[in-house]
């Protein structure tokens, strides 16, 4: 493993630009040219290197999980440095080579990392202009940078030529000026996915695919129930299998439900590891009295911290636990070197978080750990921690060889964390002319994201109540935004119907926020809301909202035939400031519809007696081709506004739009997500 210091020494000549947070840059004299061997400043968020041969390499702690950050960040560099996209290398999520980053979540890559990449590239460009001005003794203003070349008055040089022999470093503050969106040439266009070719040829190596010399395969024994404790273990049969080593170890940090002990097997091939795991005879102390997926909503209320709120007018809605089900399950390969340093390849949205987790769990200094994150088979908020990484590292340490620990689908659907389930109780009052006068909203367990109503209402109360979660829970695309939007926008529909006002009109009447209004009207226009014609068994519904700097509206058409719900058409309008890459943005917004459909209609974790019953894809239904509606997406491009992220908010308005359409079709108000796991009864 090389250290960061070695790495910078190895970089050789050229230009290095360090992008730092403003405060830090000021203290360290930001903006000034630095000397040859200047130490790297603190608080660096990105860096960029132009080599003597003119190669451009950018480094970020952000990672690629399918949301296309690799492409959009490359566009940022290409835009400001005036070089073709294809000539830029983007190093992501390598805890040694890239700067610290909290993680890739919360739709923060575009609002935060994207401008920083642009600033680093813009600074490098200006340094090249300075070099050319000195070398050719011409006025800076006469120098052009385009297509990877610097030119002026008949002279032309590649980036590398200008830096020859020198090593120039510069630290720049986050306030560096940028090319305005209206003048973008590469940013704002549909640059194709950078490594698409590796994906269609099978060449891209995901964490699941990593292989190291001498590598062995590890499996871990999990209890038959959440929280069951190991009483005794007879591993003699497993140990007799040639090549097998049984490992018993202790996790240093808590694993909710999994028990404190790590019991694993390591074998030369995955089949032998499976056989060895099956040969372990374990006795467990069972857990009794755990709640189940039917009673869990009452459980949330019973366990609410500070007590539940009881009021006769409150209408209960529920939202089930669901699983991210990234198609590539958790995976890691861990390798220790002779000096006690650990390298781990794993698919995670928080490589630096996993690095800390590993250091803490294995009791080694952080600088002894390197985490590498190959572009991963998706996450959706579900790969924030180092479950597989810690297991691989412990097993590898015990056997003194690199160990691969790939989770199975059953493990992923049982032992990963889930999107929280929730009980949400809501009440509202509306005058006969449709003015919202009172709003009360209590969310038990699912969380605060998207809690606040965008509607104008004088008297409102919105509260999150923490409660006991029987299942391990965590982030999910949009966090609680989906749950809170489902309830708010379904209940707004209830209120509109209670005073017999068109749901669109009712919303607009109570809505001042221009950006929400705009997407709502854009979606309704494109859908043809005003001219919609109801036929038997068909219904129309709409919903809107805002979160994380994104504004979303959805309009859905459904049919209900003999209890079967089919979503026929969805129109979404989405606005997230200036659009960075229209085609990839569409891909995200459409993908959110596809994914959101599952949670809206049929996805739910069923559990009882400390066991997950939906522990396979044959028991946990996710959306398929045949579930897809016609999807139409309207992108509202606001070149005058800063770009926000887009991976999450487009999932939030879909479920209520569908629920409202089902109500329109059948008169049934569905107040539980999923709304129709087994179809509807009574229609």
């Amino acid at each position: 493993m090389i250290s960061r210091r070695d790495f910078f020494a190895m970089l050789g000549g050229g230009i290095v630009v360090w992008m730092v947070d403003d405060a830090d840059a000021q203290e360290s004299g930001g903006g000034a040219r630095r000397g040859m061997n200047q130490a790297m400043p603190e608080q660096v968020s990105a860096w960029l290197h132009i080599g003597e041969e003119g190669t451009v390499t950018a480094y970020t702690g952000k990672v690629e999980v399918g949301q296309n950050a690799r492409t959009s960040l490359t566009q940022a560099v290409a835009e400001e440095l005036r070089v073709p996209v294809a000539s830029i290398r983007m190093i992501m999520g390598d805890t040694t080579l890239t700067p610290f980053d909290m993680g890739t979540f919360g739709s923060q890559t575009t609002p935060r990392m994207w401008p920083q990449m642009r600033k680093a590239a813009a600074a490098a460009r200006e340094m090249l202009v300075d070099l050319a001005a000195q070398k050719w003794m011409v006025d800076r203003a006469s120098i052009q940078v385009a297509d990877g070349k610097v030119t002026a008055a008949g002279k032309s040089a590649g980036f590398g030529e200008l830096t020859q022999g020198q090593k120039l470093t510069r630290t720049i503050p986050a306030s560096e000026a940028l090319t305005p969106a209206a003048q973008w040439k590469v940013a704002g266009t549909s640059v194709p996915k950078i490594n698409g070719r590796e994906m269609v040829t099978g060449a891209h190596k995901y964490a699941y695919d990593v292989k190291r010399p001498g590598m062995l395969y590890g499996k871990v024994l999990y209890p038959p129930q959440f929280g069951a404790r190991l009483v005794s273990l007879d591993s003699s049969a497993a140990e007799q299998i040639p090549g097998v080593k049984v490992v018993r170890d202790t996790f240093q940090i808590g694993r909710e439900g999994a028990g404190p002990d790590l019991v694993g097997v390591v074998a030369p091939d995955p089949q032998t590891a499976d056989r060895a795991l099956a040969a372990l005879k374990a006795q467990w102390k069972p857990v009794t009295g755990a709640t189940n997926s039917k009673d869990v909503y009452a459980h949330f209320k019973q366990t609410a911290r500070g007590g539940a709120v009881e009021s006769p007018g409150l209408v209960p809605y529920t939202v089930a636990y669901i699983a991210h089900t990234p198609l590539e399950p958790r995976a890691a390969v861990a390798e220790w070197d002779a000096g006690g340093k650990l390298t781990v390849w794993t698919g995670t949205q928080r490589p630096f978080g996993v690095k800390s987790e590993l250091a803490q769990d294995l009791g080694i200094p952080e600088d002894h750990v390197q985490v590498l994150m190959p572009d991963t088979g998706s996450g959706y908020g579900g790969k924030h921690n180092g479950d597989a990484a810690v297991e691989a590292a412990r097993l590898a340490k015990a056997v003194g060889k690199p160990v691969k620990r790939n989770w199975t689908r059953e493990e992923e659907l049982t032992w990963a964390y889930f999107r929280p389930g929730g009980l949400i109780e809501v009440a509202g009052k509306v005058t006969p002319d449709g003015t919202l006068t009172h709003w009360e909203f209590h969310n038990y367990n699912s969380g605060p994201s998207g809690l606040q109503t965008p509607y104008e209402v004088a008297d409102k109360k919105e509260q999150v109540h923490q409660a006991d979660s029987p299942l391990r829970q965590g982030s999910y695309r949009g966090l609680a935004g989906t749950a809170n939007h489902f309830v708010r926008e379904s209940y707004m529909d209830e209120l509109a119907h209670s005073v017999k006002i068109d749901p669109l009109e009712f919303r607009l009447k109570n809505l001042k926020n221009e950006r929400v209004r705009n997407v709502l009207m854009a979606a309704a226009d494109k859908f043809g809301w005003k001219g919609r014609k109801k036929t038997a068994g068909h219904g129309f519904g709409l919903a809107a909202g805002m979160e994380k700097g994104g504004y979303i509206a959805a309009v859905a058409e459904v049919s209900v035939t003999a209890g079967a719900v089919k979503v026929l058409r969805v129109v979404q309008a989405f606005e997230c400031g200036a659009v960075v890459n229209p085609e990839q943005l569409r891909n995200q917004v459409d993908g959110a519809v596809a994914m959101g459909l599952g949670g809206a209609l049929f996805e739910q974790i069923e559990f009882a007696d400390g066991k997950i019953q939906t522990n396979r894809l044959s028991r946990y239904r996710v959306p398929r081709f045949a579930d897809m509606p016609v999807i139409e997406t309207v992108l509202v491009d606001r070149k005058d506004l800063v770009s926000a992220g887009a991976g999450e908010t487009p999932i939030m308005a879909l479920a209520p739009a569908i629920g409202n359409a089902i109500f329109d079709a059948t008169g049934q108000r569905l107040r539980s997500m999923p709304m129709a796991p087994k179809g509807l009864t009574g229609v």
């Binding site: 689908r409 459409d590 894809l617 398929r624």
Partner: protein
């Protein structure tokens, strides 16, 4: 236990030494380093593990390696000819029919098989022909568009 010592993969005879009842998926990935074939469920639900066996899309997680000795196996790594992508691969790229790409190899091989059976499918035939494949990122409409485009261009099977 019976052992399998040779497989015909991507036009080459590959030497292996595997129990006949191991899955083809594992032999491809773990023994032959052909990791373009993906695992998603191990129970026939997702089709991420699809390969072509004598031209037929087949779920390699449910296929015992003993049943395919002597048959022609094509994985995603064997689809392009030199630098030239297969038309279905090209169509997936052109349509941006992927996000994380984990489902992509299986989708492409499934589509190649579909177009062999039905060279000019309707959208409904694409949907029913591909419905066994899961894309968790939800790029389904783009995949339908890619298959439609590949069919339009015809091209080699």
């Amino acid at each position: 236990m019976a052992r399998i010592t040779q497989l015909d993969v991507n036009g080459a005879k590959r030497r292996i030494d595997a129990d006949a009842d191991r899955t083809l998926l594992s032999v491809l990935r773990d023994d032959l380093d052909l990791t373009g074939t993906k695992y998603g469920c191990g129970e026939g639900q997702c089709a991420a593990c699809t390969v072509l066996i004598d031209g037929q899309p087949t779920k390699s997680c449910l296929t015992k390696v003993g049943t395919v000795a002597g048959k022609r196996i094509v994985t995603i790594e064997g689809l392009a000819r030199e630098a030239e992508l297969h038309p279905v691969q090209q169509a997936f790229l052109d349509a941006e029919a992927m996000q994380c790409g984990w489902c992509t190899p299986g989708m492409i091989l499934g589509a190649v098989g579909l177009l062999q059976r039905t060279p000019h499918p309707t959208d409904a035939e694409i949907v029913s022909g591909m419905n066994g494949h899961i894309c968790r990122c939800g790029t389904y409409p783009r995949i339908v568009a890619a298959v439609r485009e590949a069919a339009k261009k015809g091209g080699r099977a």
